[in-house]
Structures are given as structure tokens and as C-alpha cells.
């Protein structure tokens, strides 16, 4: 097991290496001169040239890449053109909001998806199952930014249950404030989880070992909880692991609408202002985040399901 985990971690290294190359190349094709962007529209060509040299933009490509890798290794990820700060500092300031939102929406998604997946699986093929599934498909199909505004108007403005956006101080206040954005992201995640969990539940309910369990005289509840649900949830771990990338990405949209100062807002602002070190640093960071989450879910999965061996 230990060896497996080490191997799995080692496998991450070439991926991360590739990630830096891809991020670097991506920004290389970007039109527009970063030095000119940074200096704004008021600076003279000479002043801009000074900055170009300062940032090594006059260097050959491979040297620029080496500089970028150095920035990543030292943990700064470069310096923002507009914030004039290390990208890592910007990321660390905003990371808690994105992580919090991701976690929060996943919890909400589970709370929504679990009971409905169970009900749907138990009444498989009947009207209630069909209805539940269609509602969840609809949840997936509704554009999140549209849903966000509907929620703000309905829950925040008309009912006054939640603030219209922003973040506050402290855990409880943020649980309250971030509920609507977490709900928007959570709904589409819930749809994905519900779909897969329902399938797994049905598959597990038909498994031979369920008959074995029943043959032992266990109660229906015991069979369901210990054998059906437990086994199905294990496979849900890996579904969440795969979908977490989608969830993290999904927060991008809602962060902007709900004025959550997370990584998504940072990315969008960086793209719109062409703050290229931020775009580059963030894409690498996002990839790192996904790789890490996948690593953790893989290990968790391997621990929960003894059959799975980490290669």
C-alpha cells in the first residue's frame, strides 16, 4: 500500500512538468505585449522597453521557460502585472474561498443527491424514478449564471433569506453568505452524483452478495446500509474525484456573479486584463489542485475498496 502511494505520487511529476509546458506555450501565442499591458496606455515606448528587458521578454523562448519554471519552483509563480504582487500571494489569498466553495457545494450536492439517488434506485423504473431523474437532468441543463440571478432575486431579494453576494468574516457568516453560490454549483454536481450513484446502487442491489447478506437474516436496513449504500458510496468517491475538476471550474462562473473573491474571479479578471503571469500561474495552480485532489481521491478510494490496487 505504502509503495503504491509513493508510486502514485511519483507519477504526478511528469504530469506537472507537462502542465508547466502547456501553460507556458498557451501564453506564448497570446497576442499583445505584456510589458505594454502592464505600463498602461500612458507610457512611452522607451519606458516599455525597459520593462521588457526587466522581465526577460527579450530572451529566447527556452530561457523564458526556464525563468517560469524557476518561478514555479520558488513558489512565487511570477509577479502580477497589475497587482504588482507575487502570483502565489494572490492565489493564497483567494484559495480559501474557492476551496471553501468547492467543499461546500460538494456537501450540498451530496445532501441533495444522496436521498434522491436512493429513492430513485429503490423505485427504479417507476414514475417517481423517472421524475427524479428528469429533474436532475434539468438541473444540469440550466445555465448556472441564469440560475444564479434567479436565486438572488428569489431567495435574497424577495424572501430576504440570504445576502445577494460577497463574503463575510468567520465560518458561520460565510456558511450563510456562500449558500446561494454553493447551491448553484451544488445543483449541477448533485445531478452528476445522483446519476452515477443511482446507477451504482441499482447495480449493487442486484449483486449476488446482497442475496448472501439477506440470506444471513439481516434486516433490510442493515443490508442497505452495510452492503448496498456503503459499497455504492465508495464508487461515488471516484466519481467526485473525476468531477471535482468540473466543480472547481464551475465555481468560476458563480464567483463572478456572487462577488466571491476566489480563484475563478482572479482568473477571469486576469484573462480580461491579460495579466499573463497570473493566467499562467493560475492555470498551473489549478492543474496542481486537480492533480492533488485526484491523488487524494485515488488513495482514499484504494483505502475504502480493498480490491483497488494503486499502480
Amino acid at each position: 500500500m505504502f509503495q503504491g502511494i509513493v508510486n502514485r505520487i511519483l507519477m504526478v511529476i511528469p504530469v506537472i512538468f507537462g502542465v508547466t509546458i502547456l501553460s507556458f506555450l498557451l501564453l506564448q501565442v497570446m497576442p499583445g505585449d505584456p510589458a505594454e499591458m502592464a505600463m498602461g496606455t500612458r507610457a512611452s515606448p522607451e519606458e516599455i522597453e525597459v520593462i521588457r528587458v526587466q522581465w526577460g521578454l527579450d530572451q529566447p523562448l527556452w530561457q523564458q521557460y526556464a525563468l517560469f519554471v524557476r518561478d514555479c519552483l520558488t513558489g512565487s509563480f511570477g509577479t502580477s502585472l497589475f497587482h504588482k504582487l507575487p502570483v502565489s500571494q494572490l492565489i493564497l489569498e483567494r484559495l480559501p474561498y474557492t476551496l471553501g466553495l468547492t467543499l461546500y457545494s460538494t456537501v450540498i450536492a451530496l445532501i441533495i443527491a444522496l436521498p434522491f439517488a436512493i429513492v430513485a434506485a429503490l423505485s427504479r423504473g417507476r414514475a417517481i424514478d423517472v421524475a427524479i431523474r428528469q429533474v436532475f437532468v434539468l438541473m444540469l441543463a440550466l445555465p448556472p449564471f441564469w440560475l444564479s440571478f434567479v436565486f438572488i432575486i428569489f431567495f435574497a431579494l424577495n424572501l430576504g433569506l440570504f445576502p445577494t453576494g460577497g463574503v463575510g468574516n468567520g465560518f458561520l457568516e460565510n456558511i450563510h453568505r456562500l449558500f446561494l453560490p454553493a447551491l448553484v454549483v451544488g445543483l449541477s454536481t448533485a445531478a452528476l452524483i445522483q446519476q452515477s450513484l443511482r446507477g451504482t446502487l441499482i447495480e449493487t442491489m442486484g449483486a449476488d452478495f446482497i442475496d448472501t447478506a439477506r440470506a444471513k437474516g439481516l434486516t433490510a436496513t442493515q443490508v442497505f446500509r452495510r452492503h448496498i449504500l456503503r459499497n455504492s458510496l465508495i464508487s461515488t468517491i471516484s466519481v467526485i474525484g473525476v468531477r471535482i475538476s468540473w466543480v472547481i471550474g464551475g465555481t468560476v462562473v458563480v464567483e463572478k456573479i456572487f462577488s466571491v473573491p476566489g480563484l475563478g474571479s482572479l482568473l477571469i479578471d486576469a484573462i480580461l486584463t491579460r495579466d499573463f503571469p497570473v493566467i499562467r500561474g493560475l492555470t498551473v495552480f489549478f492543474a496542481l489542485l486537480v492533480v492533488m485532489v485526484n491523488l487524494v481521491t485515488d488513495i482514499a478510494y484504494a483505502m475504502a475498496d480493498p480490491r483497488v490496487r494503486l499502480r
Binding site: P14, V15, I16, G18, V19, I21, L22, L26, L27, V29, M30, P31, Q134, V137, L138, L140, A141, L142, P143, P144, F145, W146, F149, I153, G199, I202, E203, S245, W246, I248, G249, G250, V252, V253, K256, L267, I268, I271, L272, I279, L282, T283, F286, A287, L288, L289, V290, V291, N294
Partner: protein, 275 residues
Amino acid sequence: MKSFTSRYMRSYAGVAGLFMLLVVAAVVVLTPLLSPWDPFAIDFGATTLPPSRLHWFGTDNFGRDIFSRVAAGAVIDLRLALVCVFVPMTMGIAVGLVAGFYGGWVDTLLMRITDVVWAFPFYVLVLAIVGVLGPSEGNLYIAFFLVNWVGYARIVRGEVLLISRLEYIEAARLLRFGGPWIMARHILPNAVSPALVYAMSDAVLTVQAVAALSFFGLGVQPPAPEWGLLIVDSIDYMRQAPWMTLFPGLALAFSGVAFALVGEGLAQTLRPEGR
């Protein structure tokens, strides 16, 4: 093929989804005949009119007929969804087949590349690519092509590894058939079905993503009546003229559900055991 059709027709979800897609197609084809309104004609004298007999879905802030625009937008959105799903699907299937079948360093190389692309959150990479290249329909395609193939590559490779172990492939190998022949005749048909099912859920997410890109001003360009763009441009009118967001939103949800249902139909047809 015949048995595929008849089996598919037995899936209620599949038939419903197909029917819904046909409705969308019918609206697209028939609208120029039914609706007298040019989707691009501006009329400052008839702005933000609520739905009526004249304008079925009302008009927007430029006095354009929303029904005509939603119908015209269907062409764009369905084109985007189909192209952005099927081209990457083909790419991904090819990569997955080659990697899974040949194994060895080919597999290692292709799968490392796949892992790298897979590591980026979908939205982040698409946003970054479109943001860098600049917003246009062409660049949307590029972004989706670059990003979307990975899911298929992973699925198909997994299937190929499973199928390759089955005996008839071994038998075919022993009979010294060439690699491409084996792939085409034996592996491809079996490996494609899970990819096809995945493609439908991919289509739902693609329509969504296109709309989300429009939200950030990175999608299709106005005055094209792309649904996401229609919604985005009318967010400010959400309370004054709710029909401006409602109908494109419904269109988006409608086609999303249609794709999802077709996907379910395909799933039931192609893998009845619910594997």
C-alpha cells in the same frame, strides 16, 4: 444496424430525447416560413414588448423578435454542440485506440499527454485558450478540440485494454491480421459505445460551457443569436422583461434535456446490462 434501431426505439428516454431534438430541428427549419420577423432587424419603436400573438416570445431591447432569434440561435448552438462533441470524440477515440492497442511507449506517451490536459479544470483551460486567442466561434472550436478529447481517449483506452484481453482478439492476432484491421473490425465497435454515451452528457455540458463563455464575453459574437449570448445580454432586463432571458434559457434547458435523454437511450441500447 436494424437491431440497433429497434432496440433504441424500445427506450422511452431515447425516443423522447430524439423527439425533442426533432422538435428543435423542425423549429429551425420552419421558423423562416412561420415567423415574418428577421432575427436581426432592429426596431427602436418596438423594444421589450411582452409575448403576444405578433411576437410569440416578445421582443428584446432592440425590438428584435425573440422567437426568431431563439430559432436562429438553435442553428448556432446545435452546430457548436455537435462539432465540439464529435470532432474531439473522434480525436479521443483515435488516441485511445492507438494507445490501448499498441501499448508500450506509444501508450505511455499518449497517456501522459492525456493526463496533462486532464489535469486542467475544463472551464479553466477553455477560458484560458479562448481568452488568449480572442473570442470567436472559430477559436471556441479550437479550445474545445484541444480540451475535450481527453475524456474519450481515457474511456476508449480502458475499453480497448479490456477487449484486447478477450479471446477473439488473441485469435485474430494469431491469424496475423494487421493492427488497423483488428482495430477497425473488432475493437472499434465495442469501444465506441461507452464513448457515444459519454458524448451525450458531454453535449449537455458543452452547450452550457458555450453559454458560460458568452457570459464572460468570450463566446460567440453579437449580434449572433447564440442562446448563451441572448441570456447574457438580457440579464440586466431580467426583472423588467423576463421573457428575454426565459425563452433562450428554456431553449438551452430543452436541448440539454434532449441530449441527456438521447444519451440515456444510447446507454440502454448499447449496454443493456447497465455495466
